[in-house]
Point group: C2
């Protein structure tokens, strides 16, 4: 285990070690180069050749060996992703921010380390966990239709259960109607924000009027309503932008860094709760109550993290934030230095009530509870 590259190797996994049965073979990289090195000569051809083109905009080849290997690993993640999605007509490429600066400018690539997906005439930026799992799932989502049709009560139930996601639903006459503007708007947010439409009486259950669009913030029972009239694509887009920062939002692998960058004055209120755990579930229900009561406060956006979704980060968080993640926790994190302060919930039997939580959140928003003042008690 002394090879140099090992010291840089991030997490990875291995195909099944021993099994006589067939049907569950995890892929391992076959060594074939599929990722293109994009430059001025080949970028137009690449854009034409594939239904979808994914370009990683990366820092110039670093002098430091460690960072060189890191870049190699990144390319490998792309190679494996390309291999897995080989039959889906998706191209993959790397764009060097120095050597290929001209191409990058032409293509509008800006953030080093981001993956840009070119599909039809739009560009989707991926700023999530850079793992083959997450990337493959993300790209498969991008391949699906951007609007899902809801046509019976069971499908409506599926829609209603997706409380963690930002989702819109519109009621239209049919494919040839104002639905077109809705569909075009949906493409701008795919796959981060989910769009649904119905052409039939399913709309009645939602009390949707013809051409009306409803926007559901995560965990909210009542939608924000865009009244039924001749809506343009831009009106819908504008409406989404206006509402999309949720009062309570779940950290997701596919856009975790983007969410984290969207801090409020340099801090995040972070809640850890394992939904599968009775305690965690109870705490989450209290959090939802608080979020519902405060949905109109633009200053408030709580990031909910389910530790089950990020096993490799769990002990890192425990160390960095000095909390026990076997139990629910809520705290304030300063995103510039990861300094944090946490609500004292050491009495296991008594989770705070929604009122107590609201008082604490008020103290956070007023600055009374802050990360610079670690010695203060959170609840006095």
């Amino acid at each position: 285990m002394q090879l140099f590259w090992l010291s840089l190797l991030p997490c990875l996994y291995v195909t099944s070690l021993c099994t006589a049965e067939q049907g569950l073979e995890f892929p391992s990289f076959d060594g074939k180069d599929r990722v293109l090195h994009i430059n001025e000569r080949n970028y137009k051809k690449a854009l034409k050749r594939f239904d979808m083109l994914c370009l990683l905009y990366h820092e110039p080849q670093p002098a430091h060996k460690g960072r060189q290997k890191q870049l190699q690993m990144t390319e490998l993640v792309l190679e494996l992703t390309a291999q897995v999605l080989e039959d889906k007509d998706i191209g993959f490429g790397m764009v060097d921010s120095q050597k290929d600066a001209k191409v990058a400018k032409k293509l509008g690539l800006e953030e080093e380390g981001s993956l840009y997906i070119f599909k039809d005439d739009r560009v989707i930026e991926f700023d999530g966990e850079f793992s083959a799992d997450t990337l493959v799932e993300f790209l498969l989502d991008v391949l699906e239709d951007p609007v899902e049709l809801i046509s019976n009560p069971m499908e409506l139930r599926a829609f209603e259960r997706m409380e963690e996601d930002i989702r819109l639903i519109g009621y239209f006459k049919g494919e040839d109607s104002y639905y077109k503007a809705f569909q075009e708007a949906s493409e701008r947010f795919q796959p981060y924000i989910k769009f649904f439409a119905t052409f039939d009486k399913t709309a009645k259950h939602l009390s949707l009027k013809m051409n009306e669009v409803n926007f559901y913030e995560p965990f909210m029972e009542e939608p924000a309503i865009l009244p039924g009239r001749q809506l343009s694509e831009m009106e819908i887009v504008e409406f989404v932008h206006q509402h999309k920062r949720a009062t309570l939002r779940k950290l997701r692998a596919e856009d975790m860094f983007e969410t984290w960058e969207d801090d409020l004055d340099g801090i995040h209120i972070v809640a850890f709760a394992e939904e599968e755990d009775p305690d965690g579930y109870e705490f989450l229900e209290i959090l939802k109550d608080v979020a519902r009561d405060n949905t109109n406060n633009p200053e408030l956006s709580i990031v909910w993290i389910d530790p089950d979704d990020f096993p490799l980060l769990t002990t890192y968080w425990e160390k960095t934030f000095k909390v026990n993640l076997f139990k629910p926790q809520i705290g304030v994190v300063n995103v510039t230095d990861a300094d944090s302060v946490w609500l004292d919930m050491s009495n296991d039997e008594d989770l705070p009530t929604a009122e107590e939580l609201e008082d604490w959140i008020e103290d956070v928003l007023s600055g009374k509870v802050n990360t610079e003042d670690d010695d203060d008690d959170c609840i006095s």
Copy 2:
């Protein structure tokens, strides 16, 4: 990208490529050796030294370079897992099935490629996806208490929502009661089967009598009941073994290979359905109906796979089984050669009814629909 090891590298992922914010740093292997090479001289000491010891029982050092690298990668997954869990007092080791045959025999290691976890006086076999994510999550689950206490209506709701899992709940006087036998039984199934207990009136909502234990098969509304009397650990264990192969079971990363090995006469009935997708959700509801109607048929066990849980296998399955996984599918898979036959659901608008599905399943169980007979139509 020409290095030899790359051609063998399985999936892996990379730490955040570029972000100024702190708080979401994925770990990368620091190069420090933490995994022990277990032999006759050190195994007793290792067992004593750690609260928990995880031993990978592996094939002898292979002559073939490819398999050598595969083994190295496996060790790396263990190394990263060990690093992430460094503060949890868990030991990690490798046992060579040839060189360390004696130790292996003493420890009862049997299946090459399995990971054996020694905790207190019991051994837990891990036969799931060998990735650092899955391993870390699994081991964190093993560290938790094997029985969760339910003490209020909200926690009960959390329990009731876990319909995907096999779970038991018992009602006892308190910690010093027949609860002890229940707790000991729970340790034998942790973390695969979930055990819950209540000491208070929460039990009334479940109409549990004192000392009664209820077993919930996944997706079933009515539990199997072990009546309230002086239950021994072995009675509870026996009861679990009797009921644990579910009529409808979800494929989970942590025991996917074990589930797959538990085929019925060399075949699995496999259903693909994305729960987050309206179509998938609807199909799953139909499947649940079928499972509830046939829960007493020991010949029937349907494996439900949510493609969202296995992004890297999705296109492999599409190729191997020649199905489109953007839509729900149900079929029969022969586990010896992965040959398969699928129910024709090409009419997108009409999912089969529960009755149609039951007819097809009957045809599967009677052998009328089988994987050797690919030219037959599934629905005639």
